[in-house]
């Protein structure tokens, strides 16, 4: 039956509009990045609303907060290529694998799919020499996205979740800033597509399906166990999950890419990745070292039971460069994230 369905689909496509040209793998792998996004043919329309064949959408259980931007994510693999499952860290992706992430704003954050404006589309391309990060910034007409290596500032106005106008000074990162987050021991690497962060459902053709199972089924992934046997990051916004799991997931997604032993903030000794199990390294009663005024006059990164005297929360609540964390990727405060971490810190047994 399935074969028949596939055959039918192919016939239908042949009978309909001319089949779009496939993703331009040679352009993805070329030494020089294309000046505009369309050259890769990752999408079949100039506005990048329709993904080309070979792109599979995915979502993370707990993603990074990026100034309320909506993000759509796709994985492209060269025809016949597969990613290899790993229980920890990102999967082993073959050369040619490309992660495509578009940052976008709806006019009203309460209606995430209406009047959506694309801001930038980022590519992480796995070349033979390693991963390369590229950022393409969309024009106002939403017809073309051009390469911006030096970063940019873009003014965005939205209606926030409380119905109030919100001005966002959106920062497109420069190439090196991509690496500040996407760095493992100084080498550029993806962050998101790990087993634990993909171990959740996504709607494919309207029907929810576990992503690990789906990737396996359609031949993108080898070696994955059944989803229930794979590690899983909590969904930070799902109130049904344990508070500590949600908070640790949030800290992992928003801080752990930098605050880990191989990340840019390794010298801080504060490690917020999910794998860290030493409470002292997670910030419990940890004194600031090079935090400067970021410490806000407080003594500990985490003062259990006391969100008001924990540096971690102080830096999440700030919008001031030199104080705020993360240093990059946001200009406004993630109020929901702050509320979650405050509740978590409050829930920890006080030691004083």
């Amino acid at each position: 039956m399935r074969r028949l369905a596939a055959l039918l689909a192919a016939v239908l496509m042949l009978g309909a509009a001319p089949r779009p040209a496939p993703v331009a793998l040679d352009v993805l792998l070329a030494e020089t990045p294309a000046p505009s996004l369309d050259a890769y043919r990752l999408f079949t329309d100039p506005g990048a609303r329709s993904a080309n064949a070979g792109l599979t959408p995915y979502a993370l259980n707990t993603p990074l907060f990026s100034d309320h931007a909506e993000k759509s994510r796709f994985l492209f693999l060269p025809p016949g290529a597969k990613a290899a499952y790993k229980p920890t860290g990102v999967f082993d992706f073959p050369v040619g694998a490309t992660l495509v992430k578009t940052f976008a704003y709806p006019a009203d954050l309460r209606k995430p799919v209406d009047h959506v404006r694309f801001i930038e589309t980022r590519l992480l391309i796995h070349k033979a020499s390693g991963w390369v990060a590229l950022t393409y910034v969309w024009n106002d007409e939403q017809t073309k996205a051009v390469l911006k290596r030096a970063g940019a500032r873009i003014e965005v106005s939205v209606i926030d979740k409380a119905g109030q106008p919100l001005a966002i000074d959106y920062a497109v990162p420069n190439f090196n800033q991509c690496k500040e987050c996407h760095s493992l021991s100084g080498v550029l690497a993806p962050i998101g597509p790990k087993a634990r962060n993909l171990n959740g459902d996504l709607a494919y053709g309207g029907k929810p399906e576990n992503q690990l199972a789906h990737w396996t089924k359609i031949g993108l992934l080898t070696g994955a166990p059944a989803p229930r046997a794979a590690p899983r990051t909590a969904v930070w916004s799902d109130a049904k999950e344990p508070l500590a799991d949600r908070a640790r997931a949030y800290l992992d997604g928003n801080c752990g890419h930098c605050h880990n032993p191989q990340g840019m903030a390794s010298n801080s000794g504060l490690f917020l990745n999910l794998e860290e199990d030493d409470p002292a390294k997670q910030g419990f009663h940890r004194r600031p070292v090079a935090a400067g005024r970021g410490a806000g006059g407080l003594e500990f990164d985490i003062d259990p039971g006391h969100p008001e005297s924990s540096i971690l929360l102080h830096r999440m609540k700030s919008r001031e460069p030199g104080v705020m964390m993360p240093e990059l990727g946001r200009s406004v405060v993630d109020d929901e994230g702050v509320a979650l971490i405050a509740a978590y810190l409050k829930s920890l047994p006080p030691t004083r």
Binding site: R149, A150, G151, A152, R153, D169, A171, N174, F175, N176, Q177, K179, E180, G186, P261, M264, S266, N267, S268, G269, A280, K281, H285, R286, R287, P288, V289, A290, A291, G292, R293, G294, A295, G296, G297, L298, E299, I311, E320, P321, G322, E327, L328, S331
Partner: protein, 408 residues
């Protein structure tokens, strides 16, 4: 199809020729509109061996800059001539971040970064030469923490640098090794020059003045790199450190008393000699244990293997910024002895012999504290000197050939 040997040799030869004939370029960037994008693009475009040359004038930035290409020099037209202003900075933790090897930053001024001034992380052969990093509003708690900030770096040269107004340390070398800090000036910072959790440093011929504390050598617990040792501090002017501590509360340096010349805390093998140390109201040289709680078993909180000799000590210690300091000074005839040691000789859980000290430049005030930081338990005693000579001193720090060359 297999390639013939000739083809392979041809390709290899071509590659070698290309590499050797590739000319180092100079990428010129002038002041003016869009400086952020133009300079950042140059920092991305630069190839190893290139110079990114900044013209005279003021450059205004809205975000941090970063360099991740090896063997690049970023050079301005001179301190005070090329001015990089970060007064309008909206993001990033520093003005300029360097994450590549063999980089030199020279001949320019950086002003008013929101966080640190110029930082290198994980860089080998990093040189900061003839730079000024300053906060133009004077000493303020809201100033950035560090002016020049190499961390987790190896082969560090800081030469002819001036830093003013850092709310932590002007020149701060952390978790690094093989370091020279020389011919530099640190003023109006909380700590003038600080070597922390680092190994093999020569700090010489600098001026540290009008800071809260002049030159600090510390080791802190709970960091990926600990057990700092082997620092020589010599030939420096450590004078008139008289700025009230303006560090944000809670920071380690917020505990530095105003008017300390040289402060050594929880570090090993530090030699302080041939310096001019005067005008520091708390102490010329102060040796103390780390006194906050810690639960890092690998950490030793005591200063040990310390030599203080042959310095030229002027007036110091007339009003120690310590609890009871005024009384102490009065009781001791107007000022406390220039060299102060907290007297901690052991720490629970730390094995090994008592700290070896040779404090020749006396008199020495030993507070004989019962435990680190417990000033209320002091049983002060004064001796003309303390300890005996003979502690070995590290040889001069040598940087790799090519890094430490005279200015062209």
């Amino acid at each position: 199809m297999a390639y013939s040997n000739a083809t392979i040799w041809g390709a290899a030869l071509a590659a070698v020729l290309l590499a050797s004939t590739a000319q180092a370029k100079t990428l010129d960037v002038a002041a003016g509109p869009d400086a952020q994008e133009r300079l950042q693009t140059a920092l991305l475009d630069a190839k190893p061996g290139d110079v990114v040359s900044l013209g005279a004038g003021k450059f205004d930035f809205t975000d941090g800059l970063s360099l991740d290409v090896d063997n690049v020099t970023v050079a301005g037209a001179g301190q005070g001539k090329t001015i990089l202003s970060f007064a309008g900075q909206k993001s990033a933790g520093e003005g300029l971040l360097v994450t590549s090897d063999g980089v030199t930053i020279r001949d320019l001024t950086m002003q008013d970064t929101k966080g640190d001034g110029v930082k290198s992380k994980g860089a080998d052969r990093i040189s900061f030469v003839a730079l000024t990093v300053e906060w133009t509003g004077g000493p303020k708690e809201t100033n950035g923490a560090y002016g020049v900030y190499p961390v987790a770096s190896t082969n560090v040269l800081i030469d002819k640098v001036t830093v003013r107004g850092a709310s932590d340390a002007g020149i701060y070398v952390g978790q690094s090794k093989n370091i020279i800090v020389r011919n530099s000036r640190a003023e109006f910072n909380v700590a003038g020059i600080e070597i922390e959790n680092s190994t093999d440093a020569d700090v010489h011929d600098n001026v540290a003045t009008h800071n809260t504390g002049g030159i600090l050598v510390f080791d802190l617990p709970g960091l990926p790199v600990m057990g700092g040792h082997s620092t020589r501090i010599y030939g420096n002017q450590v004078v008139d450190n008289d700025t009230a501590n303006f560090a944000p509360k809670g920071n380690i340096v917020a505990a530095v008393p105003m008017g300390v010349g040289v402060m050594l805390m929880a570090n090993r093998d530090v030699h302080v000699f041939d310096n001019d140390i005067s005008g520091n109201q708390t102490s010329a040289v102060m040796l103390i244990a780390f006194s906050r709680s810690f639960d890092d078993k690998a950490y030793n909180p005591l200063p040990r293997d310390i030599v203080v000799r042959d310095n030229r000590l002027g007036r110091n210690g007339w009003l120690p910024s310590l609890p009871g300091g005024k009384m102490l000074a009065q009781a001791m005839g107007g000022s406390v002895p220039p060299v102060l040691w907290d007297g901690i000789t052991s720490y629970p859980g730390i094995e090994g012999p008592a700290p070896r000290l040779y404090l020749k430049d006396g008199p020495v005030l030993n507070l004989n504290l019962a435990k680190p930081g417990a000033v209320e338990t002091a049983k002060p005693s004064v001796t003309p000197s303390l300890g005996t000579p003979g502690l070995p001193e590290r040889a001069a720090v040598v940087l790799p050939a090519g890094q430490d060359k005279p200015a062209s």
